[in-house]
Each structure stands twice: as C-alpha cells, then as structure tokens.
Symmetry: C2
Subunit: 275 residues, 2 copies
C-alpha cells in the first residue's frame, strides 16, 4: 500500500478497525501497511480512541509489548442502548401488531438489518467481556440477531435446526417440551458444528417460559459444551416464576400485556439495564 | 456534539458513512453535527472518497444543490471479489465436506459472520445500481447472506417460511416442485411482509435446478411484486440446461463435481465476473 498522509491514514485505520472488532492487531501491521513509524500510528490511534469513546461506540484497547497491538471492542453506551430500546418499545406497542391468539407480529422489525445490527451491538456490549467461543440460536427468527452479535464479537454462529437436514451430516437430536403449551418438539445440531468444551452464547428473538432455551442447553450437554450466557430480544413478563424453565438471561424488552380485545400491547425495557 | 478538529472529524465521518450505506446525507447534517463550515466538510469528504476508492471499498457520491448531499455506495473491487471467491473455492474443495448423497457441508463457512458480510458486499456491488425495494430469501441457510446484502444496500429483508407460523399473521402459501428430485414443497409469506409492486432481490445459499427460486418468483406474483435480480452463493454446474428452471442469476461459485468415491470436489468461480 502506498504511503499515506495522516488524514488518509485516519480514514483507513478507522474502517480497518471497525471491520475487525475483537481482533488484536499488532502495530507493525499498520506501520508496514501505511509506511509510517509506529509512533505516528500510536498518535493516530489515540485520536481514534478519543472519538470512539466520545461517540459511545466502544473502546480501543492498546496492549504494550512484543505481543501487543490494538483491539477494537464495540460497546454501546447506556444512553445509546436506552435510545434504541425505547424506540423499539414504541414500535412494539403499535396496536396493529396483535395477531389472533395474542401473538405479536414483529417480522417487520426483525427485517430491518440496521436495527438488527444495533441489537447485536447491545448484546456484544453485555457479553463482550466473557469467555465465549460461539454464538448459537435455533432457526428461524433469532438467526439475524445471532449473526449481528457474532459479527461484533468476532465469533462464529451455530444454527440449531428443527429437523435433521441432509446438508448437515450426522447430527445430534433431542426432544424438548415447550414451557408455555407443554407440547413436544425436536431440535438437532450437526456433529461438526461445535468443538467439545465450547462456551456458548445463546441468542433468540423471543422467550416465554424458556423451553426452547432449556432445550438448547440440553443439546449443549450432548456436545460437552456449556452455556456462557443467554440473550433474548423480547421476554414475556406474564410467566409465573414457577413456570419459568430458565432464569439467568438478558432481555432487551419485556412484554407485559397483550390484550386482543382492546388491542392494547404493553412493553417495558427488559432486564438489560439491571445487569 | 462538540466542535471537532479535522482529524477527529475524519474518524467520525468515516464511521458515520460506513454505518449508513446507500443513504443520502445532506452536508448541513455534518456541518451542524461537527460545528464546521460546509467547505471544510467537503474537504473532509474528498479525503475519505480518495481512500475508499483506493482501497476498493466503494464510492462516495456527492450530489450538488439544495437536495444534495453525500451517499456512500459500498462496492467491492473485482480484485477483492476475486480474492474472496478464490479463498472460498479453496475451502469448498476440502474433501471432508462430502456428505452421504453427494451433498456438501458448508455450514461452517456460512457460520462465519465476517465471510458472510463479504459475500453480502459482493452482492451489494452487483445489485447496488438497480431499483430494488426489498431482499428476499427462504429459510434457513440463505438468511445470513440476505441480511448481509440488505445491510449494505440499506434495504429490508423478507423471509419466506416453509410452514405457516402463528407469528406471521395471515399468509399466502404456494406449492412448488423442486427441480432436482421433482418433490412437492410448500412456501409461505406473511401478507404484511411486502407492499404490492415491490421490486425484489432474491438471495440464496445454493441453487441446483432453480425450483426454489422459481417458487419464490411464483410467490412474488401473488403479491403483484416482481423480481429485480437473483443472487446465489453456490450454483450447480451439473444441471442440464433443459432441466434448469431459472437462468438469469448471479452465482459467486459454481460446483462442478462432487465424487463421493474419490472424495473429490471441483468448484470454480461462478458467473459473477461474466456479469
């Protein structure tokens, strides 16, 4: 790459770091890439660090020494998270979302890549400090959230399927009981999908009693893997605590009431801010 | 926001533009945001434009006049696209991917958010100039590619389901015949998912004879919508042309041979570079 001036270097460095979250990049990489002295690169990084922190975009960690370098840790400030979650609450309360049976239509919101990426940013913020090897979800609606989170944590995503697919090779299947209506379901995961002893972040779009999450945890046991965290976009606040099959999770929004008669939906920010 | 120096402004502007592809942003937005003169912002943008172009990251379009502003159009250079696709070819030819029945395991590759985002960048490059309202895919494995593409084109994503879900409200279902083994399947799309007359980019992970894509196009007709383009990660080069149900598509990689006996897989870059 040709030698760049500081101004151009700042642009290049910014995009390079944003595209590689949670990756340690040695200063020599930049020094060689831009034909600049390490001291100049350090000055550039100090400018970027200040802007990222001021903007509530996250942290630039610098590690000194031979094995050192710089690492971009995306992090959403509480203020920005609250803004995103409040917007989501307003949209979720639109009366037109109520479906027969008291279900909530939210595919339009989950269909907005920009919003889904913001949700991923929030999960990456709360789970970014933990020791995690892989992000897991079960098809279908949690998939974009899992990828958005995985992208920001620089982690692979593993998809649990409802049925065994020929394109997944040999697989492990389990049965699980849905907590809300006690019906029996199957989920299956390719044997190749995960190494033993993996530490797994489970992500999903919605959790009622937690039967699906419980099922994923049972599936993890078959892989000798363990759960490192659970994040759901929306949880239901109407479940009795004795009915709840899983307690230790992070939710961004809590659904309090859905009344098909009056077409009223009540939501509030989830337990994210209590964590 | 507090008044920023040029160096800090360049960092901020770069991240702001990267986060908002295909969005027209008036110069006054930046001028107010950074407490700077429009002429200074224009100079900043010229620097960013040069770096983006030099790096093969895309274009910064500036529109003059009262309704003017700047728009970041992500675009992957042919050189970078070839690098990504060649890497993909090498990985796809690993003999361990062959599954019983001659299927190819690729969930590990589709599970890498960084790679999936690069695939989205390539689709956004080839379809970015077209008039598209929405990106569509059918569950499951095409979903991350659809979101990566939608994010870079600043477009919503619509998911076609295999079964009608209670969380989707009233839906339109069709039957379609898979081109390769002539079996009958169903696909369904929520009535709320798409406006009439929408122009739709169809994206998927794999296409053999094209039965699934054909099905999605039939489904579009029910919504009075039309197909604006079709992009698949992998297509099969072993399908006879009279067997093929759909011809006009872009593929990144073409699967030429899968021989379970010798465990040999042959792939080559798809028709992307011919488009």
């Amino acid at each position: 790459m040709k030698k760049l001036k500081r101004s151009a270097r700042l642009v290049e460095l910014t995009q390079f770091l944003l595209a590689r979250p949670h990756s340690l990049i040695p200063l020599t990489t930049f020094a060689e890439r831009y034909g600049a002295a390490k001291s100049s690169i350090s000055e550039d990084l100090a400018i970027i660090k200040e802007v990222f922190e001021e903007e509530g975009m996250g942290e630039l960690q610098t590690l000194a020494g031979a094995a050192g370098g710089v690492k971009y840790i995306p992090r959403v400030s509480n203020e920005r998270a609250l803004g995103i979650i409040n917007d989501l609450c307003v949209k979720l309360e639109e009366p037109g979302r109520i479906l027969p049976g008291g279900y909530l239509y939210m595919s339009d919101l989950l269909g907005k890549p920009h919003l889904v990426n913001e949700i991923g940013d929030i999960f990456a913020t709360i789970f970014g400090g933990q020791n995690i090897d892989v992000v897991m979800t079960v098809e279908t609606k949690g998939i974009p959230i899992a990828y958005a989170t995985g992208a920001k944590l620089n982690l692979p995503v593993v998809l649990v399927r409802r049925d065994h697919q020929v394109t997944e090779g040999s697989a492990v299947s389990i049965n699980y009981v849905s907590g809300s209506n006690k019906s029996l379901h199957t989920m299956t995961l390719s044997r190749r999908a995960m190494k033993e002893k993996s530490r797994v972040l489970i992500v999903d779009d919605f959790m009622k009693a937690g039967g699906t999450v419980r099922g994923m945890i049972d599936l993890l046991a078959e892989f000798d893997a363990e759960v490192a965290g659970v994040g759901v976009l929306l949880d239901s606040g109407t479940v009795d605590s004795e009915e709840r099959l899983f307690e230790d999770y992070v939710s961004l929004v809590t659904l309090e009431t859905v009344d098909p008669k009056s077409r009223a939906i009540g939501v509030k920010p989830g337990n994210y801010f209590e964590k």
